[in-house]
């Protein structure tokens, strides 16, 4: 079977994120000292230089910030699904915090089911979780 590109679940900077998605939660790194949220995760708070972090649960809601539709040539696992969409989602809690994903038509739906011509920047979406090998990937459905 063709393989997807997946994160290293043992990367210490991001492991809590993937542990949360495995539990069906979207969590974001925040500074334990000053509270500033940051995405992607990193080892130090750029606002106060603290290395202590916590992981805050999010509502799992956001809006589409941008979208692309890749066509081949692509790695085989992705080429089989192309054309599919990739979206960037601005998170409800702070729209300057963003995360990538795919827009799916239903919680278990594939990434090539939504007609790309219907995807609009600014559309509200909510998170769903789909298992790919040993990783729980956040994806999005229309809210």
């Amino acid at each position: 079977m063709a393989s997807f590109l997946l994160p290293d679940l043992e990367d210490p900077a991001s492991a809590p994120f993937w542990q949360a998605t495995a539990a069906g939660e979207l969590r974001i790194q925040a500074c334990a000292a000053c509270g500033a949220r940051r995405m992607p995760p990193r080892p130090m708070c750029p606002a106060c230089r603290s290395i202590e972090a916590k992981w805050e649960a999010l509502s799992g809601r956001g809006t589409i910030w941008s979208c692309v539709v890749p066509h081949p040539p692509l790695l085989p696992a992705y080429a089989e699904l192309a054309p599919y969409n990739v979206i960037t989602v601005a998170l409800e809690e702070d729209p300057s915090l963003r995360i990538l994903g795919n827009l799916v038509a239903r919680p278990e739906g594939p990434i090539n089911e939504v007609d790309p011509a219907t995807i609009r920047i600014g559309e509200p979406v909510r998170v769903v979780f789909q298992q790919v090998d040993d990783v729980s990937l956040p994806r999005w459905i229309r809210a």
């Binding site: 997946l6 994160p7 995405m39 750029p46 692509l74 990538l100």
Partner: protein, 385 residues
């Protein structure tokens, strides 16, 4: 009063190999050929070269180059990261090394074969993703074109840019390539209609929004302004040089800062013009890094040729086209129609414009802006004659 290294060094030699898909020579051989040609052009002895400045992505090592080409004792060597962002950085670091006396004659170069495995880091499979890549690739955002397409769609949304504007870029550069016999796309016309009908690569970007895939090598020789006056080529001065990694920037997938469309060009431009006696309105010709067509409107804005959000409209009415456009850009065809060698061919075209030997020579041009990659940690030089 001169600032920093302003006009203290000059490019006095240029050399290049042929450009093609699938050259037989090795990357090392291509590098040596381009460097030898640049040294020959400068009219200095190879043993005078004592500085080497290169891209971190270069596969060739300095000692291999030095002992093949027969260079002297190398007293300065260094490399600049971030692929297409590195070209002007390699020039600027060579200029700084010469200006500060760390070396006296420096060579900067880029040699690349697209077939080389290392030239496609996005295609490495089988390994788990660490760092920045894990926040985009799992969802199928795999290639540089996908990463830039994400910014492009947002740019179109925020500022009303259209595919027709990107077509203006592609068509202008192709016209220039059609006057340049060394260009890969020499003799192959591109019309707006062909652009609009081209196959998608990553919507909203189509085939003609992408740079070429090219094998080839290019090199320049840089010496002090004093030494340059004794050599056979007219000196092309490095008037201003800047680099930038803007705050909170993430390479290529720059979606996580407050304003992702405020790219590295802005921060680079600020210092570049601060250190320059020449201002954007006085610059008659530009070579702007064009791995993807949308980088052109972003760079036009970043480097101050128009206001924010007006880069797409700037391309209208043939503004980028030689001879009568407002700012003839990528006058040898650029990465999209001459050759894609990580932007180093833009530097040589900038030198030709200052020497008066471009295939699309802008009459009386006294300065030329050359930029490296937008969307990555970047660099730029302002050349003047």
């Amino acid at each position: 009063m001169s600032i920093g290294i302003q006009d203290r060094t000059a490019i006095v030699g240029i050399g290049q190999t042929r450009f093609a898909k699938g050259l037989e020579d090795s990357e090392l051989s291509l590098a040596c050929q381009a460097i030898a040609a640049a040294i020959e052009d400068a009219g200095i002895d190879a043993s005078e070269v004592d500085g080497l400045s290169m891209y971190s992505m270069e596969n060739n090592r300095e000692f291999e180059i030095a002992r093949s080409v027969g260079l002297g004792d190398i007293t300065y060597f260094g490399e600049i990261g971030y692929g297409g962002g590195a070209g002007c950085g390699a020039i600027g670091h060579a200029a700084m090394a010469v200006a500060t006396g760390q070396c006296t004659a420096a060579v900067a170069w880029r040699a690349r074969k697209r077939a080389a495995k290392s030239s496609r880091p996005w295609a490495n499979v089988g390994q788990r993703l660490e760092g920045a890549q894990q926040w985009s690739r799992p969802w199928g955002l795999l290639r540089p074109v996908d990463e830039i397409a994400m910014l492009t769609r947002r740019y179109m949304h925020e500022f009303g840019a259209k595919r027709e504007h990107l077509a203006n870029v592609a068509v202008a550069f192709r016209k220039h390539a059609n006057r340049n016999p060394n260009a890969t796309m020499y003799g192959r016309e591109l019309t707006h209609e062909q652009y609009m009908q081209a196959r998608w690569i990553s919507e909203p970007l189509c085939l003609f929004d992408n740079c070429l895939e090219t094998d080839g090598a290019l090199a320049v020789v840089i010496v002090s302004a004093e030494r340059a006056r004794d050599l056979r080529q007219p000196p092309v001065y490095v008037h201003s040089f800047a680099q930038s990694i803007p705050r909170q920037h993430q390479v290529m997938t720059n979606y996580f800062c407050d304003d992702p469309l405020l790219g590295p060009s802005y921060a680079c431009a600020r210092l570049l013009w601060e250190r320059s006696e020449i201002k954007p309105a006085d610059v008659p010709v530009a070579q702007l890094y064009d791995a993807f067509s949308p980088l052109i409107p972003l760079s036009l804005e970043g480097y101050g040729f128009c206001a924010r959000g007006e880069g797409a409209a700037f391309t209208e009415n043939g503004a980028l086209e030689w001879p009568s456009g407002r700012l003839p850009t990528n006058t040898s065809g650029g990465g999209m129609s001459e050759a894609y060698v990580h932007g180093f061919n833009l530097i040589l075209e900038g030198v030709r414009q200052m020497r008066g030997t471009s295939p699309c020579q802008v009459e009386g041009a006294e300065s030329c802006l050359v930029t490296s990659g937008e969307g990555v940690p970047t660099s730029a030089v302002l050349l003047r004659r």
